[in-house]
């Protein structure tokens, strides 16, 4: 992928949490690249480390976390085709450099719109806060005009009135649009949406996802979408990462994953979705067996206990990633004959 425009490049990301004096590994050797203008879906059961992965990238992590990686690079592309590289892995969490990226370059939409807005400030002020921060000297009135303009684009009726509301005066769907407005107001290149519609009802889910897709396509933005809704994945994503217990078990384009699912876990995931594409409200059904405790695992394949194809080999050492086809990687011993790519 040398010539392509890689906006985010993550290499061997590991995140652990200190708890009771022990260090528990949650994210293990995660590597991926995101091309500018594409959208990447991260799927996997809840608790597998999707949120921790993206929060490790943006460095919005709890104090008890330990993050390490070979590198996490964000690239800012200039009009003339040159790019500036930011080594996020070398920045301090809340330092000036990292903060200069948050908002104008990378922004986030969180899972729970009810909890994402500060109850004591008017939503308009919450939208323009980042704008004023990153544009010193900008007048509050002008910023508010931009916020109103953006809300109009997001399909919010009477935005002049809405900006004066407090969060508790708005419905859940409206709140999530405000949260999206906060994420978009500085015109970021990379939008990370962590299960942005889980808390909302199906019709509003669809509206909000359509909105995000439109922004991505029309403005050539990049999106990372975390979801466990496979229907959404088919509608939104260009590339897909499947995670299981903190590890990427399969990675490829949408076509790779849906037409040639290779990891036993991916197959189970897809088998649990009856009608692809149209399954808007469809969530992953439970897969037999329970997720092991991350603290217990030492080596071998994390999926071994639930895998029908498990052999003795599967319980030993580190399982490499093998190439299924170009750009399509699977982490499973069954493919041991293929080329090792990770």
């Amino acid at each position: 992928m040398e010539d392509k425009k890689i906006i985010l490049d993550v290499k061997n990301l590991n995140t652990s949490f200190k708890s009771d004096g022990k260090l528990i590994k949650i994210v293990k050797d995660v590597s991926f690249q995101l091309e500018k203008g594409r959208s990447l879906a991260i799927v996997g059961e809840s608790g597998c480390g999707k949120s921790v992965t993206v929060h490790s990238v943006t460095r919005l992590m709890a104090k008890n976390s330990v993050i390490s990686s070979d590198h996490v690079i964000y690239r800012k592309f200039n009009e003339d085709g040159t790019a500036k590289e930011y080594r996020i892995d070398k920045m301090s969490n809340y330092g000036k450099e990292m903060r200069s990226l948050r908002g104008p370059e990378i922004s986030m939409v969180f899972q729970d719109p009810m909890a994402s807005l500060n109850p004591v400030y008017r939503v308009g002020d919450q939208i323009i806060e980042g704008l004023l921060e990153h544009n010193p000297g900008m007048k509050k009135d002008d910023a508010m005009k931009m916020a109103i303009e953006l809300l109009k684009k997001l399909g919010i009726p009477a935005p002049e009135q809405r900006v004066k509301d407090y969060p508790h005066q708005l419905s859940g769907g409206m709140k999530q649009r405000i949260v999206i407005a906060i994420a978009l107001i500085c015109n970021p290149e990379l939008i990370i949406a962590d299960e942005p519609t889980t808390a909302l009802d199906v019709t509003i889910q669809a509206q909000i996802m359509e909105l995000l897709k439109k922004i991505q396509v029309e403005l050539n933005k990049s999106i990372i979408l975390i979801t466990h809704n496979m229907g959404l994945v088919t509608e939104m994503a260009d590339d897909v990462i499947v995670m299981y217990m903190g590890r990427i078990v399969e990675k490829g384009t949408l076509k790779d994953i849906f037409n040639a699912p290779s990891h036993p876990y991916t197959k189970m995931l897809l088998a649990s979705v009856p009608v692809l594409g149209m399954a808007q409200g469809q969530k992953l059904t439970t897969i037999p067996g329970s997720t092991p405790n991350p603290a217990d695992l030492t080596e071998g394949c994390e999926f071994a206990d639930r895998c029908p194809y498990c052999t003795d080999e599967c319980r030993k050492g580190r399982i490499p990633g093998y190439e299924v086809s170009e750009g399509h990687m699977v982490r499973c011993r069954k493919f041991a004959g293929n080329k090792e790519v990770d």
């Binding site: 943006t58 919005l60 104090k63 809340y94 990292m98 903060r99 200069s100 990226l101 948050r102 908002g103 104008p104 922004s107 986030m108 969180f110 729970d112 909890a115 994402s116 807005l117 500060n118 109850p119 004591v120 400030y121 806060e129 980042g130 921060e133 990153h134 407090y166 508790h168 949260v179 906060i182 994420a183």
Partner: protein, 313 residues
């Protein structure tokens, strides 16, 4: 809003009236004979007692006495101590400025330092300032007030000879040195609790999702703490803060005793132990007014801080 305030104030007036009646009746039935109390048992004849009763109106129905008492209050007559005979106006109210002088300062100073250090301890968790705040809180909670006062006197008056150990008005020179130790003795315990409470509430709020969202906007940490965390922590903090205002009315017996401070604390405590019911009555009424006003203020400030609080309901 205005309608709500008027309604609240009217309700308060009614409540004060009802509360005062309940206290009045309760104190009348404690079995204390005011005549015996003021003249001393067996020092008078039955006729004298009857004459005094008639003169004081103690034979009138309770309700008549109650309204007479209120009528007198409106005239500025708060009654007399039955134990010592002093007028409440001179014996208690006149001492109030001395109490206010130290309690008000102690409240202001402990609030500023308590909230300030609490914020800094949340911002720099497990730093020196955090440990210092924790130490002060433990000291403040584990030592009685009078012990604190004595320790301060031991250090600053006896060992260092810097500050006077007692009295309110010095023979000559500035009064300020006389104020310092009593204020410190009051303020330090108040400070400690407030620091910890502010810190812990802020750390709770810091875990909220909206704080993460605020950080994702790229604003600096001090703004995250000031704008997003602090304001949301203030409602519970203000509640404990305002309930402390009662020391403005009651003063502090311990501090007044140790520093020979001529405030209301000692007088009121004596009155309570001596069943001096006109004084107790007056004190209780004053306290009730204070408590009702405080809870009113808490509701009002709560609504100012948090728009989710609806006053009209």
């Amino acid at each position: 809003m205005a309608k709500y305030i008027v309604k609240r104030i009217l309700t308060m007036i009614v409540m004060i009236f009802v509360i005062s009646f309940v206290i009045f009746v309760a104190l009348q039935n404690t079995g204390v004979d005011p005549v015996a109390q003021s003249l001393g048992v067996d020092n008078y004849s039955a006729e004298t007692a009857a004459a005094i009763r008639e003169k004081l109106g103690l034979n009138d129905p309770l309700i008549v006495q109650f309204f007479r008492w209120w009528g007198n209050i409106f005239k500025g007559d708060f009654g007399y101590s039955i134990a010592n005979g002093y007028s409440i106006k001179d014996g208690v109210l006149a001492k109030w400025p001395a109490t206010l002088e130290i309690t008000l300062w102690a409240l202001v100073i402990s609030t500023i330092i308590g909230i300030g250090v609490g914020m800094l301890s949340a911002f720099w968790q497990n730093s020196i300032i955090d440990y210092l705040g924790r130490a002060i809180a433990v000291l403040g909670n584990s030592m009685p007030e009078y012990f604190f006062a004595l320790v301060l006197i031991q250090i600053f008056s006896i060992k260092l000879g810097l500050l006077p150990s007692a009295g309110r008005i010095p023979v000559e020179g500035s009064r300020i040195p006389n104020l310092i130790l009593p204020i410190a003795a009051l303020a330090i315990p108040l400070c400690g609790n407030l620091m910890r409470y502010t810190r812990n509430t802020m750390l709770d709020v810091a875990n909220q999702e909206y704080v993460k969202l605020a950080r994702s906007k790229g604003i600096p940490e001090w703004k995250v703490y000031f704008k997003h965390i602090f304001r949301n922590s203030m409602r519970p903090v203000i509640t404990i803060l305002l309930f402390r205002l009662t020391i403005l009315v009651g003063g502090s017996v311990a501090v007044e005793t140790v520093f020979a401070w001529p405030g209301v604390g000692i007088v009121l405590t004596q009155a309570i132990t001596a069943s001096d019911y006109p004084v107790v009555m007056f004190y209780t009424l004053f306290m009730a007014v204070m408590m009702l006003s405080i809870s009113f203020l808490i509701d009002l400030l709560g609504a100012v801080i948090d728009p989710r609080v609806r006053l009209e309901k």
